[in-house]
């Protein structure tokens, strides 16, 4: 039961025989997958099944943890060019700017709302002051946050509500002009209403990006996913298309598989 791809979709991410381990213990085994621009892929699985590690392989964030080891090939189409991020010399700064990540809990910088966006834009893109200001405004609008924060851009970012914080984190990514968005259970720390708002935002963004999201919720996957990958013990055990996800009998099987 493979995902039924529309014919016009071309892959932007190709993962082949990916192995990731920490301190000699392998977490991901021989993983292969591909993802497409304009589609939202959801990764489902029990905790400890390697979902987050998989996500962190795309921006080489696993290397920020002690004794990580990655083998295999992970190719991304960035700026129209295929780059094998573990073989070609892709500058980390460039890679992480193009492959943005949102974490389970909002990882804010301890500064104001505006500066949460302005600081990385200034340091990574080296824009001028005026361009930074317009970039910040643009990104906040993209993340459907501008109307809520435009009058208090200088307030500390942690005064925002959980959902707003998570959208601020998304805005911060968008400001850096990413092509691939990695979302690690972006609604895990939010209540239902805030989650819906973030989901709405994700659906509006997915047309222009390649979106790979880890989710803990099957119903969320059914609302969002164009395809779903089911993880177990560091391997993909099942791929489901949007249609598969909606079918009631798959649902039952999935519930047993995951929970």
């Amino acid at each position: 039961m493979g995902p039924q791809k529309p014919i016009n979709l071309k892959p932007t991410v190709m993962v082949e025989s990916l192995h990731v381990g920490f301190a000699g213990r392998e977490v991901l085994h021989n993983l292969s997958a591909e993802f497409h621009r304009g589609q939202l892929a959801v990764i489902l699985g029990r905790s400890g099944s390697g979902k987050t590690t998989f996500l962190r392989a795309f921006n080489r964030l696993n290397e920020c943890f002690p004794r990580s080891e990655t083998r295999g090939s992970l190719r991304l189409k960035l700026q129209g060019e295929w780059r094998n991020i573990y073989r070609d010399a892709v500058p980390l700064t460039e890679l992480r700017r193009r492959v943005g990540m949102v974490f389970q809990t909002p990882h804010l910088l301890p500064v104001s709302i505006a500066d949460n966006l302005a600081l990385p834009v200034k340091l990574v893109l080296e824009l001028s002051r005026r361009d930074i200001a317009s970039r910040v405004e643009w990104a906040l609008k993209e993340a459907h946050l501008w109307e809520e924060v435009k009058d208090r851009l200088d307030s500390p970012a942690h005064t925002l509500s959980g959902g707003q914080q998570q959208r601020l984190c998304l805005a911060r990514l968008l400001a850096l002009e990413p092509e691939i968005l990695l979302l690690d259970e972006p609604t895990a720390s939010l209540d239902f209403r805030a989650s819906l708002k973030v989901e709405e935002l994700l659906l509006s963004l997915k047309e222009r990006y390649t979106v790979i999201a880890v989710s803990h919720s099957l119903s969320q996957a059914r609302r969002l996913a164009d395809e779903a990958l089911i993880f177990r013990d560091g391997s993909v055990v099942q791929r489901l298309s949007r249609e598969d996800l909606q079918a009631p009998d798959t649902l039952q099987a999935l519930l047993e598989e995951i929970f």
Binding site: N59, L61, C64, P66, L92, T93, E94, L95, R96, R97, G100, M101, F103, T105, H107, L108, L109, P110, V111, S112, A114, D115, A118, L119, P120, K122, L123, V124, R129, I132, A133, V136, L153, D154, R172, L173, L176
Partner: protein, 296 residues
């Protein structure tokens, strides 16, 4: 029963706070009563006209002005040596060192923290003797040697506080910066250091206070009673704690002893001023280092 223990514990903690406060007040009061009368221009400049003394045109006898200048110079010079080195070592220990090297480096810092100041003084003295015998026969004890030894003495405070403050930051803060494409160095300078600023500052304050009050190190490395204003960073100098020590041991009259209390009061005020300076530095530090400065 539990209620009684709780209220007893509460009473004890209140008592402890009161006792501490009481002792500080008692101490300040004692110094104030004994030293307040001596607080006038002649405490600083003796019989020398103040302006001539400040500009260094006339030497000061029986005044603590040269000692004040000596102490300030000493503290500034040793801070200049210890703070950058301590910050850099703290960053290295918190973010770069791993395994074997981290273990040994931490051990070395702890050892350094445990060295008594008189031993550090002896080290400075032996060092200058060694330099004298080998490369520079004209080398002698002086301000720079004292500042160097003091810097070594206070270095562990800065290193340990920097390391602790950085390591106490949540891992997600580190990942947030890195995941946005900041280089590790940008991440440390623009995100981690400002976030740890408060903790680092307390290390700096401890170091400054320690450098201002230490007597044993400078005793062996260049302080001289009645040597006047320091002639340069290699020259001899006077310092307040040594002056107090000297007066306490060898006062020849009640007036001289009273001057000792005056000097102690001034040293206290000087240290307080240095602390205020450190707080001021912190606010400018957050202005330049805090991303708020990028504001739009």
């Amino acid at each position: 029963m539990i209620k009684r223990i709780t209220s007893l514990a509460q009473a004890c903690s209140w008592l402890a706070v009161l006792a501490t406060l009481g002792m500080v007040l008692l101490f300040l009061g004692f110094l104030g009563v004994r030293g307040f009368d001596t607080l006038n221009l002649s405490l600083f400049f003796g019989n020398t006209p103040p302006w001539e003394a400040i500009t260094g045109r006339l030497p000061v006898w029986h005044g603590i002005w040269p000692a004040c200048v000596g102490t300030v110079a000493l503290v500034l010079l040793s801070s200049l040596l210890a703070i950058p080195l301590g910050l850099a070592s703290g960053i290295y220990l918190a973010h770069y060192a791993t395994g074997f090297w981290k273990k040994w480096f931490c051990l070395a810092v702890e050892l350094l923290a445990g060295i008594p100041s008189i031993v550090m003084g002896l080290f400075g003295f032996a060092l200058i003797l060694f330099i004298k015998k080998t490369v520079a026969p004209q080398a002698n004890t002086g301000l720079l040697l004292s500042a160097g030894c003091l810097a070594l003495l206070v270095l562990p405070y800065v290193i340990l506080m920097t390391q602790t403050a950085l390591e106490a930051l949540p891992d997600e803060l580190r990942l947030a910066g890195l995941s946005l494409g900041l280089t590790p160095w940008q991440n440390i300078v623009h995100v981690m250091l400002p976030a740890a600023g408060r903790g680092i500052l307390s290390g700096v304050i401890l170091a400054v206070g320690r450098a201002a009050e230490d007597t044993a190190v400078i005793l062996l490395t260049g302080v001289v009673a009645n040597s006047g204003l320091p002639s340069g960073i290699l020259g001899k100098y006077e310092a307040l704690p040594f002056h107090i020590f000297f007066l306490a041991a060898e006062a020849r009259s009640d007036a001289e002893l009273a001057q000792g209390f005056g000097a102690a009061l001034i040293l206290l005020m000087l240290t307080a001023a240095l602390f205020l300076g450190a707080y001021y530095l912190k606010s400018t530090f957050t202005k330049t280092w805090d991303p708020k400065n990028l504001s739009i």
